[in-house]
């Protein structure tokens, strides 16, 4: 049993590169010549992926995903980190007199029923261009909506050249009930072409018509999307497997 934390920062315009570097310096890089990073020292896991925003709302943005055994473990690690002298000094130094991050959204996510993990393959790094799709799900119909996502939409995206990295239910966050999927594409042209072809897919159309007939409204609405580029140190791995450093 694990829980995922998606942290999403509104970075001050012009400072995205610094924010990417700052995360690298605390999460990945050896801290003060020791063998471990500052995150390692405090028991904060390495991010499963770290991104910068390419298109979407409130740019520039920086986002990353963490996986925790429990929320108690999370607070036991993050709180001392935030209170630490190391972080206070390093964040003040790198802020350089002006705040680097203006706002933080923290969402708690749990793996969705619609997430069919890939089986029987070794996890490997998945680069390219990532897409985050947020779906508003009609309350009371989530089983049917998840079935549609898993059997039709997400499956079709894989046929069209995407790789489903993960699908989550939002447990804590805005605009619930909401499901979020992360899909990796080799490039922008493939992503755009797939979106266009998905709109015309007969099974997608049939599902929407059936919802309209039965309920008079869609059970699942695609409400928000953004494109994200993995940072040099934060590529995702298959099924959002934990990083092992081999294929960074």
């Amino acid at each position: 049993m694990s829980i995922f934390e998606y942290r999403f920062y509104d970075v001050m315009p012009g400072r995205l590169g610094e924010e990417v570097q700052r995360m690298y310096d605390v999460a990945i890089a050896p801290w003060e010549n020791g063998p471990k990073s500052l995150f390692d020292r405090f028991g904060i896991p390495r991010p499963l992926v770290a991104w910068t925003g390419v298109a979407g709302r409130r740019q520039p943005v920086f986002g990353y995903l963490l996986e925790w055994e429990s929320l108690a473990a999370r607070d036991a690690a993050f709180l001392p980190f935030w209170m630490s002298r190391e972080w206070a000094e390093f964040s003040a130094k790198t802020d350089d007199g002006r705040q680097m991050v203006e706002r933080i959204d923290t969402l708690l996510l749990s793996p969705s029923m619609a997430w069919k993990k890939k089986k029987g393959i070794l996890p490997k790094a998945v680069g390219g261009l990532h897409e985050m799709r947020c779906y508003q799900v009609e309350a009371g119909h989530s089983a049917e909506a998840m079935d549609y996502l898993a059997q039709i939409e997400l499956q079709q995206m894989e046929v069209l050249g995407g790789e489903v990295l993960g699908v989550f239910d939002v447990v804590i966050g805005p605009d619930m009930p909401m499901v979020i999927s992360f899909i990796a594409w080799p490039d922008f042209a493939t992503q755009q072409g797939a979106a266009r072809r998905l709109e015309a897919e007969p099974r997608v159309k049939a599902a929407r018509e059936s919802w309209h007939q039965h309920y008079g409204r869609p059970l699942i609405r695609h409400v928000e999307q953004s494109l994200l580029r993995p940072t040099f140190y934060g590529k995702a791995r298959t099924n959002f497997a934990a990083p092992n450093g081999d294929d960074a």
Partner: protein, 237 residues
């Protein structure tokens, strides 16, 4: 007297209805617009990358906003339009959300205009809705015109238009339309822009001078021109 306005219409299309909407906008609407005195749109776009998905967008130019209100009023009350809309809607609306705004050309646009005969500009287009500080707006536009947009142009962007939002949500806001050859060029440019010493120095100087940043957040929409209405240089008619 002001005689130069632009109307930016951003739609979130209903799922699966973008081909229908293209047909409506590209082929059914133009004669109706013409009959009510609505000018031919300067450009049409679609997009699957950004907050409105699928996005459909177009832009019109008006010399007179009261004339705009009259023309659209006549169009919306035309029984021909109602019949045509109902027929092609097929029981449910093609459009889920609409964001309309009225723009004015930003003074800094003039100096950034492309010289020569207007020509269609293909590639990847970018709509940046850039929030500005409520104070010192003139300085923000000056920075855009003298520092930021020339930098992006040097990185390969063609400036299609620079506007200030006149009516609509989230003002003060600069509305910027850029054209890129493609995604690779755009990403390389944005990466360079983010770390550019002259841009960083400019932001620091602004912070020192004004005690706050001039620029806030941007919503970024990546858009593909629709074949029946590709924008021309400087959004010329």
């Amino acid at each position: 007297m002001i005689d130069d306005y632009y109307e930016l219409r951003i739609y979130q299309c209903a799922p699966g209805r973008l081909p229908d909407l293209h047909h409506r906008m590209g082929y059914e609407i133009p004669p109706l617009f013409e009959s009510h005195g609505i000018p031919t749109p300067l450009a049409y776009w679609e997009g699957y990358a950004g907050p409105y998905n699928p996005l459909y967008c177009y832009i019109l130019r008006w010399p007179d906003l009261d004339e705009r209100m009259r023309a659209f009023g006549k169009f919306y009350s035309d029984p021909l339009w109602a019949a045509q809309r109902d027929a092609s809607d097929c029981g449910s609306s093609m459009v889920e959300r609409i964001d309309l705004s009225i723009l004015r050309p930003a003074p800094c646009w003039e100096k950034l205009k492309v010289k020569g005969e207007p020509r269609p500009v293909g590639g990847l287009h970018e709509l940046r809705l850039q929030t500005l500080s409520t104070r010192n707006m003139g300085d923000a536009y000056q920075a855009l015109g003298e520092v930021d947009l020339p930098y992006l142009r040097d990185q390969g962007a063609e400036i299609l238009g620079v506007f200030t939002k006149w009516y609509g949500a989230g003002t003060p806001q600069a509305v910027i339309l850029l054209a890129w050859e493609g995604m690779e060029q755009r990403e390389a440019a944005m990466q360079a822009y983010d770390g550019a010493p002259e841009i960083i120095a400019k932001r620091q100087a602004e912070q020192t001078q004004f005690g706050e940043p001039l620029f806030g957040r941007s919503d970024v929409h990546l858009m593909i021109p629709a074949p029946y209405g590709v924008a021309k240089s400087n959004l010329s008619a």
